[in-house]
Symmetry: D2
Subunit: 283 residues, 4 copies
Amino acid sequence: MLLMDCPDRRGLVARVSTLLYEQGANILHADQHRDDELGQFFMRVEWALNGKNGGPQFDLEQFQQVFWPLACDLEMRWTLTSSAHRTHVALFCSRYLHCVADLLQRWHTGELRCEIPVIVSNHRDAEPLARFYGIEFVHVPVTPETRAEAEARQFAILDAHGIELVVLARYMQVLSADFVNRYPGQIINVHHSFLPAFTGARPYHAAHGRGVKLIGATSHYVTEVLDEGPIIEQDVARISHRDQVEDLVARGRDLERVVLSRAVRWHLESRILRYGNKTVVFD
Amino acid sequence: MLLMDCPDRRGLVARVSTLLYEQGANILHADQHRDDELGQFFMRVEWALNGKNGGPQFDLEQFQQVFWPLACDLEMRWTLTSSAHRTHVALFCSRYLHCVADLLQRWHTGELRCEIPVIVSNHRDAEPLARFYGIEFVHVPVTPETRAEAEARQFAILDAHGIELVVLARYMQVLSADFVNRYPGQIINVHHSFLPAFTGARPYHAAHGRGVKLIGATSHYVTEVLDEGPIIEQDVARISHRDQVEDLVARGRDLERVVLSRAVRWHLESRILRYGNKTVVFD
Amino acid sequence: MLLMDCPDRRGLVARVSTLLYEQGANILHADQHRDDELGQFFMRVEWALNGKNGGPQFDLEQFQQVFWPLACDLEMRWTLTSSAHRTHVALFCSRYLHCVADLLQRWHTGELRCEIPVIVSNHRDAEPLARFYGIEFVHVPVTPETRAEAEARQFAILDAHGIELVVLARYMQVLSADFVNRYPGQIINVHHSFLPAFTGARPYHAAHGRGVKLIGATSHYVTEVLDEGPIIEQDVARISHRDQVEDLVARGRDLERVVLSRAVRWHLESRILRYGNKTVVFD
Amino acid sequence: MLLMDCPDRRGLVARVSTLLYEQGANILHADQHRDDELGQFFMRVEWALNGKNGGPQFDLEQFQQVFWPLACDLEMRWTLTSSAHRTHVALFCSRYLHCVADLLQRWHTGELRCEIPVIVSNHRDAEPLARFYGIEFVHVPVTPETRAEAEARQFAILDAHGIELVVLARYMQVLSADFVNRYPGQIINVHHSFLPAFTGARPYHAAHGRGVKLIGATSHYVTEVLDEGPIIEQDVARISHRDQVEDLVARGRDLERVVLSRAVRWHLESRILRYGNKTVVFD
């Protein structure tokens, strides 16, 4: 699968698709997008690895070599991934386990195609869940004073497992700029509000205070500025005056589960292209 | 119909419903709400004016006299309205006419039970529409320098028509504090974002810039602080990276129509109770 | 908490609320509904058991005695439940575990206030999950020939645990009329379509075949006629031509979880009144 | 703009996009879809007519000649439309005018890019609306006995105005097979239910009777079998036990407006491909 973006120019699709054709790719899905303001072109192409109906076998190595000059010529950012590859994911959580439990259940049923070798938490609540699914659990307590050490331990864990994606499943600690920069576009968080409304702590309390009629949740890539990273997915639910803060919290759990799991799935399926502070999601 | 709120205390429902029963009211709908934090009780009761099945006729005047001592005793804010009464509404608009056209169409088909004697605008675009529906149209140009005079003219128009509700249907001028205070809880506005996100001007541009995945619209009572009044209704629509600002504007029009017309209908049906900076909507 | 319905007549609310007041109840929430066609009145009242702010203690036994003559006089169907009581629930499932896993997780976090003493299945897949949550698991295989015996075993299990609610969480066997009649209004099922569209087997295939643009799920009480019982909750999700049957199945799992868990929660909180083939849900 | 579908084969995208490139097209948007079951490939390509940034001018005539052999070779169904062309649309309605009023308002504001030379109705209610927008209104009464004559008159009107699309905006008469076959894929209807639930007459009554928790509306191409044509768009709204049939009717009007106007817009923008009894909608 090829995920790419580059400055728009005439003949782009023709050149890329002709090259794929010549290399024997049988395209299953292709999606393009052109941002008029930026003059940027985005494309996702998915093709069958082995030729359907007796077509020729597709050679990923060879394609990469042939594709390289074209990509350079077009000033392309690109990632080529094999659907055979399973991304290594680490789940970070604290005491609220609904998102972790949901991700694990979806992973278990095959909805999320990835490896989850480790769960990291600053609390012990998720340990039984990790054990149930046969996943290593590491307890890394964090205090403001010990954050640097804690992150050093976390880096060691992530390195040991070859982690390519960190999912903050209601992890209640703020990551350092150092952490964020180590994993550019590889950390997904869920915020329990409809961003940019109600950034920061206790968004359900803020929503209740403002008297909104819908609450929301947002999954996004983590950048140095808290709650400001590129948004991947959002959803909302209707509430009424009958709902107290605790009702918002309960309703919100369903939203958080859904927006986080969608973001993780789309990332795993190479459907997301970041550009500026936004995302293109090829669904 | 009775709309009321007061400090919560035991026996409230019993006292009010017994009084209604003794006065011969046949309750059609009743809805209550209790805000636990504030200890405030809210109620809406709707009853048949003439006794169904040969029951006694209900006398609104007499009820008011009997109800008065109870209301005082319970420290009640209350409004008693007859469903025979039709609220006098003025529509304010500028150049975008989708909300005005929608409200007029709903009024014409009987969905909005009210009188609309006048449309006021700082542009002339709505004039043919007003004429089509046989409604007086008044052109009141506004500049920063002439706002005071313009509002004086508007007050005269509103007074002449006995206006009880002003609907800002994409009226692009900010009302003075004086105007707002003259019509407390009687001015409804539609803001083209999911408040409190994207307050101020050009919210669709701001939403596009932030890369949100849903856009929204909000109807609210107007208070002195712009975009901060009690929210009545909100709704959202899904967008994607394919949508440019002009697509958001087009999608948003449908949201604006829906949230504004609902707010107006609920207000006309005495379904909305304001308290603090929030609303209880008895639907 | 009192859940009741009876033929509508004047003074109903006054009589019930006065009686509650005299017995010292401090009403927290009350909701009423009147069906105009049937002339039937529905009410749900929730009150604090112990007097708030030093008010008198509420005596449920005594209330029942006092309420009895009133209920007879008004030809009332009524249930009086104490919020201290925790309903005994049995989960039935087959091989798809997403609904069971979801219900258990919600139960574990306290969102569903009930006892779940037993999980019954015609397959063994749910056994580890049951063990994880410390719940008894009983494997009851069913074939068309052995259904009667299997149900006899199931009845014994349900009796042994004092089961008051049976939740069919994607249980792929049809219950006999005998079973259904033993638990009137006490069996909740989830059907993976927007009923009444696509009744019967393989609704996602049928939806794909018809080319619908939204798929749905429905939770309902089970009656003798398959997929025809009173609907409790429904929800839908948008799909597109890009979605194959397996995508519908995946999207649908989220809907099934949500509509089933809501139905179970509302039932546990005595929010549902059945009448004819419909439900009133006091949310 | 090119809208096409053909049996899937390797190299399709490469061949089409190379041809477009060679003819000087600057692709703005392209969307593809492949139906795995049918092995059918669908594509929509939109390009700038005049070369951006001083690129060469695109010649539609010449492209057609060059494209013809390729299309034959690939067994393609295709339509080539110029965005300069404005489709001629006739609106058919009866007594409910909310859909007609909505379409006219959207047309007036430029949201629907088309010509609307005529409104045809079996009643006179829409006449003032037609006059307001300066559109010819033709009153064609229909009775079961006179349907053939009425349709003959309608054909004459449609021919006289070069009508390419007939929109049934709550037109309460069933068209003959003859009519339907004269305009294959050129008649769009709105049905006021979530099809395939509640086909036939009085769907809101049926929905109320069944006790559903959501109501819906569906826009679709008209085929010989009533309510069975390819679905273009659907939407739903939440209702509750408080809603009587007349509330469903009112809520439903908003749904009808939205699903019908979307269908018309997508048709006008050549975004819809019919295949079998389904549609691919490239949004």
